[in-house]
Structures are given as structure tokens and as C-alpha cells.
Symmetry: C2
Amino acid sequence: MFSETVSSADYSKFPVPSMRHAAAESGLERGSIRRVKAKEQIFCDGDPRTHVFRVEQGVITLSKLLSDGRRQIIDFAYPGDYIGLGVLPDYVFDAQATCAAKVRCLSTSALEQEAATDASLALKLYKAVSAELTAARSLLVSVGQKTAMERISAFLLNLVARNQKSGAEAGVVRLPMRRSDIGDLLGLTIETVSRMITKLRMMRVIDVVNGTEVRILNRGRLEELAGE
Amino acid sequence: MFSETVSSADYSKFPVPSMRHAAAESGLERGSIRRVKAKEQIFCDGDPRTHVFRVEQGVITLSKLLSDGRRQIIDFAYPGDYIGLGVLPDYVFDAQATCAAKVRCLSTSALEQEAATDASLALKLYKAVSAELTAARSLLVSVGQKTAMERISAFLLNLVARNQKSGAEAGVVRLPMRRSDIGDLLGLTIETVSRMITKLRMMRVIDVVNGTEVRILNRGRLEELAGE
DNA sequence: CGGACCGTTGACTCTTGTCAAAGCCAGTGG
DNA sequence: CCACTGGCTTTGACAAGAGTCAACGGTCCG
């Protein structure tokens, strides 16, 4: 499963380049682009936190692994999202591309140095992390309180909202992740995820094409099913 | 149950006072102290986010309520923790005191204004929110992946770690919250919480006095049970 | 063509939730 | 001083939602 995984040191091969057009760029715009292949690991839990990444293309899975193999996905990072923000010296989760992707690499030390004197940059970091916190807590509510059906429904609505922003066809969601990823995000098994999706299809609430594209047929019903 | 609850507007009666010794104080030190009684609501989900609070004494429960009454506790805020940080115009959860408590009230607008020019303050906010994010994700891993026994064990160890810092007797934890609070934090029912605590007592891993004070008898075993 | 991977479906199990009753403790009022 | 009340916890019996195990099918790719 991890045969394509790249050693955790690999991302150090993508240093932040010298500031060629620095004057025009804030600390969050600089940085070289790194291409990652599907299933390639960007960094691992426990690695020194040398870079912060900004997703430019693709979807990145952020996850935490327990020693016995259980996995909790903490978030899916979409284009525009930042990965690896925080105050700890090491990364505290794994980051892996679900599909071919591009990320911008920002040196942690340079970022922190700049933020120490640039209040607007520091505030941007504050806002980015606050948004992550809101998302994490919302997921926590789902996982802690909702039934399998409610979690799947809420998850789909969440994806719709994200995709809307990136201007996709209304009411159609691409699922770039596998069933096991959805399960590990929502605290369910792949079988349960599959069954709930089948049930939603049977209820004519959604339609699924190729297993990866979901068309919302009855948004109102889906919202009811998502349990507020 | 909510007979002692204070109307959501009440905290506006505690404005930030004029800066009497401003030169010596950063934006996070200023602010009047507000006393809250046990079970008193500090603010509600949806109220305008007029203040950020710093817990000075007691324990504050942060929770999110679903329309049908299910409740997810997002965090317990201990002395030194900040409540209500973020970028949204309204509060996105309820804050309620589990026991008599004191909080310092900081005006949101003043804080934001100051942070816009003071990078070190903005960085402090960034760090505070980052810590909350780490805690939220750690809880998410518990709730999403762990069994009831593992969640309870991890929860107790978490409390031990927090209390250690505030210099309590080693290996003894006070539980200022009720079983229903623990259940709503961990995504379990009160019955399950009670059963697991009983089981831990039977296994001689912990001892419980008065239902509110837990003595850790076998920390190693408890760590094993917490599932990494 | 064959294998690997992923998703779906079915039968069965089990952990946890639900419902109900009893115990415990603190505060109150006679 | 003590019985009463209400809130919280504990315990038990039972139910159900989700997990486990297993088999099958589809798709991609060498």
C-alpha cells in the first residue's frame, strides 16, 4: 500500500528559492512549487516541521495513524488551504496526496521570522488556523454525535459547499478520495460508507456515476438527513 | 435545567475598562474580571462575538448543541485558556461554567485593532489557536477511532497532564464535570462512561473517591488501555 | 489474459445505546 | 434532627446500529 511512499526526508529537496520578486510577494506567496504523485507522502507525523505547504492543485489527505493501523483523517486540504501551520517543532500528522497534486513550499523558519515583525502576516496565519479549527470542530460534532447516515449526508453537503466555491457544476461533487478515506474521516468502515451511499441512491437523494461523481438530486432531503 | 442561565446579552454588562496601567499590559492582560456561577452560561452559539475571555479560575465547558438536543463538548477550558478566539463575527458554540469560575473579558474589537499593528500579539493569538487546534484534532482521533475504554483512559491521562501543570498532587485528578459532560465530550452515553469507570476500578487501575476524585493506581496500564 | 485494487452486498457478531429501576448525596423545610 | 426531594450516578436487561468476515464484481493496467 505504501510502496509509492517517498522517504520523509525527500521534501527537503525543495528549498525555498531566493526572493526574486520579493517586493511584490508576501510571505505566503513565495516558495517553489512541488509536484506530488497520487499517494505520495508529503511529510510524516514526527518529521521536523521544516516547511508549510499551500495546496495549489489536487487534494491532500491529512491523517493521524494509531500504532495498530487505525487511521483518523483530520482533514482534506483543497487548493488554497495551508498544511503544516502550528507552533510545534514537528509535524503532528501525515500528509499524503489522494491524487496528483501541486503544493507550494514555504520555509517554516522564514515564515516565522517574517511573522515576528509583520502583523498582517501573523494575522493571516491566525485566520488560517482559526478556519482549520472551525472545520475540525465541525467534524468532531459529526463524528461524536451523528449516525452513519447523518455523517455521510453532512460530508456530502460539506463537499458541495467547497466545490461551489471553485466553480464546479452546481449539485455535482467529485469524490477524489476512496471509500476508505471517507470512512477514516467519519469514523466509519468502508462497508458502512458504501451501504449509506447505496441507501441514498435508493432513496433517490443522490446519483452516483463511476463511483466517483455524486449528483445531488434532492438537496433539501439531504440536509434533513444531515441532522442540522 | 437552564433556570440559572443568564440571557445571552448579559455579558455586555462587563465592558473592558479604560486602560489604567496600559503601558505595562499587553492586549491579552487587560480586561475586567467577571465572576460566573456554576452552570451559568457565558455566551451562546450565534451571539455576536463581542468579547474574548481568558479563564482565571474554574472550568468552562465549550459545546455545540444539535437541534434535537444532542450535544458535543468541544473542549474544557482551564485557567489560562482563551475562549472565543477566531475570525467569525458570531460565537460558534456555547460556553458554560461547570463550577463557579472567573473569566477576564477582552473586547474583541480592541483586540483585533491592536493585533493589526502588534505582530507579537497577533502571534500569541496564532499560537493560542494552534494549541486549540491540536487539542481538537487529538480529541477527534479518540472519538473517531477509539473504543469506549480507550477514550475514557485517554481522557483521564489528558486530565492528569493538565493538572500536573497546575501543581496538584501527582496521580490524582479532580473531575469538576459531570458524567454527562464526559459522555458528551467523548461521544458516549453517561451509562457507558459510568460502566467504563467502574471497570477501571474493578481492574485496580484507578480509585474513585466521592465520584469526583480519581486516583491513578496503575499509570502504565492506563496508558496501554488508552491505545497509544 | 490475469492480477491487484477497490467497491458492493450479505450474514452474522458485538459494542454501545436505550430503557428502567434503584442508590447515593446534598440541600431544604418541617 | 430527620424525612423529603431532586439531581446525579450506578447497575441491569434488552435492542439496535455499526463492525467483522467473506464472497463477488468491476475496472485498470501490465
